[in-house]
Assembly symmetry: C2
């Protein structure tokens, strides 16, 4: 029998995969001997001995030639830094070398002159082999757009094949990678299992529109259904994550999610990555707010530590004023021991008071029972608290069916609230949304019925509550919203390599 | 101007995100003080003092009651291990406690008796508060299927809402998480940026059928197009990854991919996770085989180290014979300094010879110019080499348009080969496929034209070669194939939480 044989083997697998994780991730790893030429990041982080020969590969970020010497700056995207190459005689420079060309330079690694801004430079003299000294691997055309130094973000989005080569966008891609790794390590240290819920689903988690439908290209034409039923791209993996939570207690995921939203804003995408987490055996929404605060602070702390440690690099390369703008955001987030938490009802009171006192002039009046508008969210976090703030216990009627109803006013639908929270941050508004999930089958069925929802596609989800149901809750966070906020980027499309939105899927 | 302001700020961000990674991931982290009750994994990995009070939450994995005492085993999915609870008097056990019920038990943490198989047990006596001693949080119905100990994998797939609670499937989910983390750490240590290519695309990478079409649900009915053109789910992120490679030099991703394959095999899924990597400034396919071997070995080494370290647990809990079956696979993979590499032409010769010598009896005769069949791949890796083996330089006509054509026979289409490789492993066959990508615009255009492909949707991909083109290559690996192979699982559907295939998308 497959199942019993496998069961026994799996036990072996599973023994120490959770408990040994901290040990593993803190164990020292010897540097890998990669079968690749050294990257610029590798060269700069452990530089070769002075005067030793070395080959540098990359793209020309700038060059100039004078009578006796030429200067070529080379970047390869593994770090924002470039390597300065001093070429003597300048005749070694091929005529087709331009900004943006890919090149290989061979020379001697040399400590920079005293008073020079860079610690090292590559001295290229062609003594060994003049032909190998400076080689152009790939030329650029006369109209290659990135030869010009600066472009608007809007223009760059029109050239997806080149946009990521800019210093801004390549930095953002590295930033994504660093933030994701920080999250992986945080959840490992918190004993969570990273899971892979499906993206094709026959359920609609939020119970509301804006879905992408999926069908096999060959079936579409025949009017048949590949899965035997309608299937959609996931708008949230929460329901499937709850199934895994009821098996593993603590689960998270980072997956693409999809919304066919036609609104054209600077904080929405049709395809985005969503971090979701579910935790069993929690009883109170404050456990979830506390945990999500730990999660974000652990990422920010890491970013901030890195900045501090690299202060000497920073002062050489960038405008201190601008670094301060960004780091002050991170410091603000780390400063308070615990971010403020208010209820939705308190939020409405604060908003009312500010209007009455003439401090604010909202386009939409805040009304109990209606959702907070983006302007309200941004004002609360940005102006009133000047910090991320949790807002809990929203009105039942504003939230999805699966949220746990609070005992107070639970018999008065119009005044009832649910055990939920949003994390609001300055400039962005909602960054995280979460709640306790109703784990009592009867109560959940009653709510589904009150909302006149079709229960049949949710039977599998309800079944979770039929057997071994546990109190649990969780939250979701748009990965790009986090990146946008932490990197102070105005438009969410500029933290994504290939943004997808209405009328835009060029490649 | 957005671009220049952001550019400067981004420099600050990017300074040390690459170079400091090794330091970061090796820094010690103090244990988190989570706002959750302790999980069973946490309790077992740092047990409380003897005789101290403690609460255990989980699901009942077994129970029995005698006259003076009851035994309840509790598991919570954070580890395969359970906590044994000794309940005296047995009357503390509520009548609705059954296998599968979720429970909270409160008792004293006690060192196990000498000669007892477990090191610790929970002594529950209800002295403080009899009502709190054993609480059932969620009952199970009489027909709850997991009360029975063992089920076939086939049956379990029919109950997706409960399947992941089995000891086999919860172990596999933890295994997925561990393997993914091992990959994240490997690529970080190799200086790669983890990227997020789009899943909705207007390109068809492989130039071949089996696509899922994506359309907004509301547009489908109106016959309109959300993106202004046809859009599909990605079958491979390679083309977009090449764009990012030409910006960052070393990139990888782990994303869902989709194929509307109607074949019903034990190694195909319609939705699966794919690891893809691209590297710039490589010249030879052997650099890619060497690197992918390092990648897999780093994962296997970690799995194997964990097993060794937990030997004392294993001998208590499982059949040694079965552990050996699985660990011998891992050891086999680690044993050789370098796995064998043969060319496709040599593979065909080996297959021919084995048939001539009567050692094999293939259903399909191996013919130069045709693809290797699954039976050939499995025999080569499983019987002939008894180990993973790289096969390189396949016929041009068997491979996609973007692969670099080898110089030998390049003028004879029927004999030409490409600089590519497959990694074949026993039992599974192809695990990885990769190649050098043609980076010469003219050659690539010639090949596209020879194949009579429509060049217009590929203009953005060709543009990469117009400006600053660099030699590069990469590979893709089905994440589930890797998991299936490493965990010795017969059917790929059993390494996936919610498998998707033709006629199957139940939730």
């Amino acid at each position: 029998m497959l199942s019993s044989r496998i069961a026994v083997k799996r036990n072996a697998l599973s023994v120490h995969f959770t408990s040994q994780f901290s040990r593993l991730s803190s164990s020292k790893t010897s540097p890998l001997e990669l079968p690749f030429p050294k990257s610029i990041s590798e060269i700069l982080s452990s530089p070769p001995a002075n005067s030793s020969p070395i080959t540098v590969n990359g793209w020309v970020s700038g060059s100039r030639t004078s009578k006796n010497v030429a200067f070529v700056d080379v970047r390869d995207g593994t770090t924002f830094q470039d390597i300065k190459c001093i070429v003597r005689p300048p005749s070694l420079i091929p005529s087709n070398l331009n900004t943006g060309s890919s090149v290989t330079l061979h020379g001697l690694w040399t400590e920079g002159k005293k008073g020079s801004s860079q610690a090292f430079e590559l001295q290229v003299n062609g003594n060994d082999n003049p032909d190998a000294a400076v080689k152009v691997l790939g030329e650029v055309e006369e109209l290659y757009p990135l030869q010009k130094k600066s472009h608007t973000a809007q223009f760059l989005r029109t050239i997806p094949e080149y946009r990521l080569r800019t210093i801004e966008m390549s930095a953002i891609l590295r930033f994504r990678s660093v933030v994701e790794t920080a999250l992986v390590e945080f959840f490992n240290s918190a004993g969570f299992t990273k899971t892979h819920p499906p993206l094709i689903t026959s359920s609609d988690c939020e119970g509301a529109g804006e879905l992408f439908k999926v069908e096999s290209n060959s079936k579409v034409e025949k009017g048949e259904k590949f899965f035997g039923k309608d299937a959609y791209l996931s708008v949230s993996t929460q329901l499937h994550l709850e199934v895994m939570c009821a098996a593993l207690s603590r689960v998270w995921t980072l997956t693409p999610c999809f919304r066919a939203e036609e609104s054209d804003t600077n904080r929405h995408l049709s395809e985005f990555w969503m971090l979701e987490a579910e935790v069993a055996f929690v009883e109170d929404v404050r456990q979830l707010t506390r945990f999500s605060e730990m999660m974000i602070k652990s990422v920010v702390q890491r970013l901030h530590d890195n900045l501090e440690n690299s202060a000497s690099n920073l002062t050489e390369t960038i405008d201190k004023q601008l670094v301060e703008t960004m780091t002050s955001r991170w410091e603000m987030m780390l400063k308070k021991d615990q971010w403020d938490t208010i209820t939705y009802t308190e939020a409405i009171e604060i908003l009312h008071r500010s209007m009455e006192e003439g401090k604010t002039n909202f386009k939409f009046a805040p009304i109990w029972g209606e959702s907070l508008k983006s302007e309200h969210e941004k004002w609360l976090a940005g102006s009133y608290f000047g910090n991320p703030v949790f807002v809990t216990d929203y009105p039942l009627n504003e939230k999805p069916f699966y949220m746990q109803i609070n005992p107070e006013n639970s018999d008065n639908i119009d005044k009832a609230t649910v055990a939920c929270f949003d994390l609001l941050v300055p400039d962005i508004g909602e960054l995280i949304g979460g709640s306790m999930r109703e784990h009592d089958l009867k109560k959940l069925e009653a709510e589904i019925s009150r909302r006149e929802m079709d229960v049949s596609p949710l039977q599998w989800y309800l079944a979770l509550r039929e057997n071994g149901s546990v109190p649990h809750g969780g939250f979701g966070m748009g990965f790009e919203r986090l990146l946008q906020y932490l990197s102070c980027t105005e438009n969410i499309r500029d933290v994504v390599p290939f943004p997808r939105h209405v009328d835009s899927c060029p490649c």
